[in-house]
């Protein structure tokens, strides 16, 4: 058992954990159920969270490594997500939704880094986020429509 202290979605928490506890299990235990597991080999991107603002795979990170850091999951970034996910909903690209939190988190990271990405930049940045349902095109169309509507000064899809 060891003690860690970190900021999760803006709230400081202290916890006693096993040294081998993975960050994904830690955040789920703390109510962040948006974070999903789809593999054991760091291939699917479903478990993406932000650590100090950078996307990381929470299945491949020990919770202990988050000690002293700031973690955000989709639970803590609802507003930032709401700005664009409606456009994806309008494409019907949410589908089963199991991959959504991971790629929405990674899209947030992308848009913070590069507010006006090209289609190829979007594809490359999200390449590690697998989706078995949507065929990816609808997700891309949604993000593209959001970017276009923002460029035209439009408000977000309700």
């Amino acid at each position: 058992m060891m003690e860690i202290r970190l900021k999760l979605n803006g709230k400081t928490i202290t916890d006693h954990i096993d040294a081998d506890l993975l960050l994904i299990d830690f955040v789920r235990r703390h109510g962040c159920l948006s974070v999903k597991r789809g593999c054991e080999t760091a291939n699917c991107g479903l478990c993406t969270v932000l650590m100090d603002g950078k996307p990381v795979l929470s299945c491949s990170l020990l919770a202990a490594r988050a000690d002293g850091h700031e973690i955000y999951t989709l639970e803590g970034l609802q507003q930032e997500a709401e700005a664009f996910v409606g456009f994806i909903a309008d494409e019907g690209a949410d589908q089963c939704g199991f991959c959504n939190p991971g790629y929405v988190m990674n899209t947030i990271a992308l848009l913070r880094e590069n507010p006006n990405p090209t289609d190829d930049e979007i594809r490359a940045y999200l390449a590690g986020n697998l989706c078995r349902c949507s065929g990816y095109e609808g997700q891309l169309r949604g993000i593209r429509r959001f970017l276009n509507s923002r460029a035209e000064g439009g408000s977000h899809a309700e």
């Binding site: 974070v35 054991e40 065929g135």
Partner: protein, 764 residues
């Protein structure tokens, strides 16, 4: 063709759960269940075929946190099937919860129930098993009449007669035909014969198999599972555990993808058994590795196609033989195979004079196969469509024109499809439109790019069904709420495809209200009306029609109550969406007042239920065209453009139909170009993770375009047919065709990996 101005159907309405899903709300099995369930883990056999001589769990049980460990000695001796099919199932009853005889590397040996994962895993290592290892049947070619039997047991039981014989490793067998194939074949100018092979590809839905079980407040078994088949699961558990169905409740929350994998009760029985034994909540979550080695993948099939044609390209005879590998257990074995012929041969109804379709389904000591989107049609269409492309190249005819000559057209009776009529068929228009938008004339000729790369194109057609005719049952139960809105209860399972939403659209269309005024509930065996489940592409066509029927009845009820309030006869009333009007007096009464009336001294509920089944299964049709760029040095195939035109009748929700098509196409690109199955030790697939089993990323799929050519199916709701499965069928033959164009070599086995192409090109 009907072309009405619909208000709700035929519109791209947002999915009802879209924002919940996109904002990561806790809606899946692992999110909605309380903490504290026992962790259930399975010890799996390392051997493909073995008898458990002894099994010692004493030391393992002493691990702190371990609650109990169960072996074959602890389970009921009743054999059952885990296939989600209507009773009596065509799938044989060939499973026990745990069997002394383990039949594939990965078969369950012991069930471990522990307070936490660590204890369960520690205990797993401490269980001592001694196996008598038997010779295994690993190759589908050697299975039939092999002296080694996968199911030698005497209590093997087929609920339906499907031509199986376990003493021959045979699960099912049949021959059907129309016309004199041999005579027509003998009279043909050209006869081609080739064999095509497809492997046991995985659905690879992002949420693996998972189930939570507990005892509810009445002491009944309450199952929350990621399943497409709540009612079948209740029946399966009842037989497997030996408890009455009334003591079981099965519900599904949102599902993280299924594609047919969850049309089999792959994992439900294990936690259910633990809960019945311990009285405690129990939860199982398959690892990705378990989903890959002990899931429910596609049936490996080898299909021999013999085609007879005239010199001018008239396809006169088709003769198919399919050998299907069901693996160690027979779920969906007898049925998937049928589609390999019944959903490929009828595409050529236009010119066929005779056909024959024969099959054998065999047991082997490999992972059991199950249901996967396309359900056998995918395999059969790869074979038949590849063969038709081979014919076109042989005759030096444009393969799209060759198809124009031979394809099924509206109004034809399809002898290879149970003599069903093609009431609605826009296949000819799909071909024309696809040719035009794809730019077939420019893309079909092979283009050497001058940098070691070649561009080429290929084509394929497809069909599927819209239900299992005379079998599938869909039901809808609708009630009017006090504010004049509706609650729709269904037993079909939305697995991400959007059926909750499209059924709500149909209700809204019928009742002349907004889709937002419809709440959808499903699926729960305690509360939903019976539905066979979400599979066989049936939900839109079957459950949709049930919604339509229930609406008709509900309107009558509402008018009857309205008439009473208006003081007139029912015949004088008209339903007007938000109110009922008395046509004589002109007076109206609101739906809200009508709903409240049913709560005061009422004898009539503002509620209606309807059930539907269909004697036919109208096929949707599709044309797909692929343009590739092939690197002659590395064999790398890059998909540049995939164009599909689909006839699903009326698309109830075009945006969702489009996503279905795009998703299915990308899945198929996976099994065509990258997803592989390599048997390792004991036949266990080496691709046991997403690192090895490579599914397409967003960099692997090129540009997809999907268009719809509407037809109007008179027996479907608002003219609709199905969309969910057909979309996975065209990419394999179309891409294989393009690769032939680029290399001059036919690849008749999937997947077509770059190393195979590179090696073949190097040999030349």
């Amino acid at each position: 063709m009907q072309n009405k101005n619909y208000r709700s159907v035929n519109h791209s309405v947002r999915k009802k759960d879209a924002m919940q899903l996109l904002l990561g709300k806790p809606v899946y099995t692992q999110d909605v269940v309380p903490d504290g369930a026992l962790v259930v883990k399975l010890l799996r056999s390392p051997h493909a075929n073995a008898i458990i001589e002894s099994i010692d769990t004493a030391v393992a049980k002493k691990v702190p946190g371990v609650v109990d460990i169960y072996t074959w000695q602890d389970v009921p001796a009743t054999r059952f099937a885990i296939a989600g099919q209507t009773y009596p199932e065509p799938s044989p009853y060939d499973r026990l919860i745990l069997d002394r005889h383990v039949r594939f590397a990965g078969d369950a040996v012991a069930i471990i129930a522990a307070e936490n994962e660590k204890a369960a895993e520690k205990a797993m290592k401490l269980i001592k098993v001694s196996y008598r290892v038997l010779e295994a049947v690993l190759d589908l070619h050697t299975a039939l009449d092999n002296p080694v039997l996968v199911h030698p047991e005497e209590d093997w039981f087929p609920p339906c007669e499907v031509g199986g014989d376990p003493k021959r490793n045979l699960v099912a067998s049949e021959v059907s035909s129309s016309g004199d194939v041999d005579a027509v074949m003998a009279d043909c100018d050209i006869v081609l014969e080739h064999t095509y092979h497809t492997k046991a590809f995985h659905q690879a839905m992002m949420e693996t198999f998972c189930t939570h079980t507990s005892l509810d407040r009445y002491g009944r078994l309450h199952v929350i599972s990621s399943t497409q088949i709540v009612f079948h699961t209740r029946r399966i558990l009842s037989r497997a555990l030996g408890i009455p169905k009334s003591r079981i409740r099965v519900e599904k929350p949102r599902i993280g993808g299924g594609f047919g994998a969850k049309q089999t009760a792959v994992c439900e029985v294990y936690p259910a058994f633990v809960t019945m034994k311990t009285g405690r909540p129990a939860m199982i979550v398959y690892t990705r590795e378990e989903a890959q080695i002990a899931g429910s993948p596609r049936h490996e099939m080898e299909i021999t196609v013999k085609l007879g044609a005239d010199r001018d390209g008239r396809i006169r005879a088709l003769d198919l033989y399919t050998l299907s590998n069901t693996g160690a257990y027979g779920e969906h074995g007898p049925t998937t195979v049928g589609l390999s012929g019944h959903k490929s041969i009828p595409l050529y109804t236009g010119s066929l004079e005779a056909h024959r379709f024969a099959y054998d389904v065999v047991y082997t000591n490999t992972q059991a196969a199950g249901a996967y989107r396309g359900y056998g049609a995918t395999q059969g269409i790869f074979a038949v469509e590849s063969m038709v492309n081979e014919l076109a190249e042989k005759l030096q005819m444009d393969p799209t024109r060759l198809r124009d000559l031979n394809m099924v057209r509206e109004g034809m009776i399809m002898p290879a499809y149970y003599d069903e009529p093609a009431n609605a068929c826009a296949l000819d228009r799909c071909m024309e439109r696809c040719r035009e938008i794809f730019g077939w004339e420019e893309k079909y000729p092979v283009r050497d790019m001058g940098n070691g790369k070649v561009r080429a194109a290929g084509v394929a057609m497809a069909m599927q069904g819209s239900c299992i005719s005379n079998v599938d049952v869909g039901s809808a139960d609708i009630s009017l709420t006090e504010d004049g809105t509706y609650t729709l209860r269904i037993g079909a399972a939305d697995m991400g495809t959007g059926c909750d939403t499209i059924l709500a659209q149909m209700l809204a269309e019928c009742m002349d209200c907004s889709v937002d005024h419809v709440a959808v509930f499903g699926a729960d065996t305690d509360a939903s009306p019976y539905d066979s489940g979400s599979y066989a592409s049936s939900t839109t066509y079957i459950t949709g029609k049930a919604v339509e029927k229930a609406c008709t009845d509900l309107k009558k009820n509402i008018c009857a109550i309205g008439a009473e309030l208006l003081g007139c006869t029912v015949d004088e009333t008209a339903f007007e969406g938000t109110c009922v009007r008395c046509l004589t007096s002109g007076k109206t009464v609101s739906l809200s007042d009508i709903a409240y009336k049913t709560q005061v001294g009422s004898h009539c509920a503002a509620q209606a239920s309807a059930t539907h089944s269909s004697p036919i299964s109208p096929p949707p049709f599709m044309v797909g065209m692929a343009e590739i760029e092939l690197d002659k040095l590395t064999g790398q195939v890059t998909l540049l453009d995939y164009m599909a035109v689909v006839d699903c009748g009326t698309p109830i929700n075009p945006a969702l139909a489009r996503i279905q098509a795009e998703g299915g196409i990308v899945q198929a690109i996976g099994h065509t170009l990258m997803e592989n199955i390599t048997p390792g030790t004991g036949g266990k697939p080496m691709e046991a993770s997403l690192m090895q089993y490579k599914i397409p990323t967003r960099l692997d799929m090129g540009h997809l375009r999907v268009e719809f050519e509407q037809s109007y199916e008179p027996t479907g709701p608002f003219g609709a047919k199905s969309i969910g499965e057909i979309v996975i069928n065209t990419p394999a033959p179309a891409i294989a065709h393009a690769i032939y164009r680029a290399t001059g070599k036919w690849y008749r086995e999937l997947p077509i990996l770059p190393e195979r192409i590179a090696m073949d090109l190097a040999e030349e």
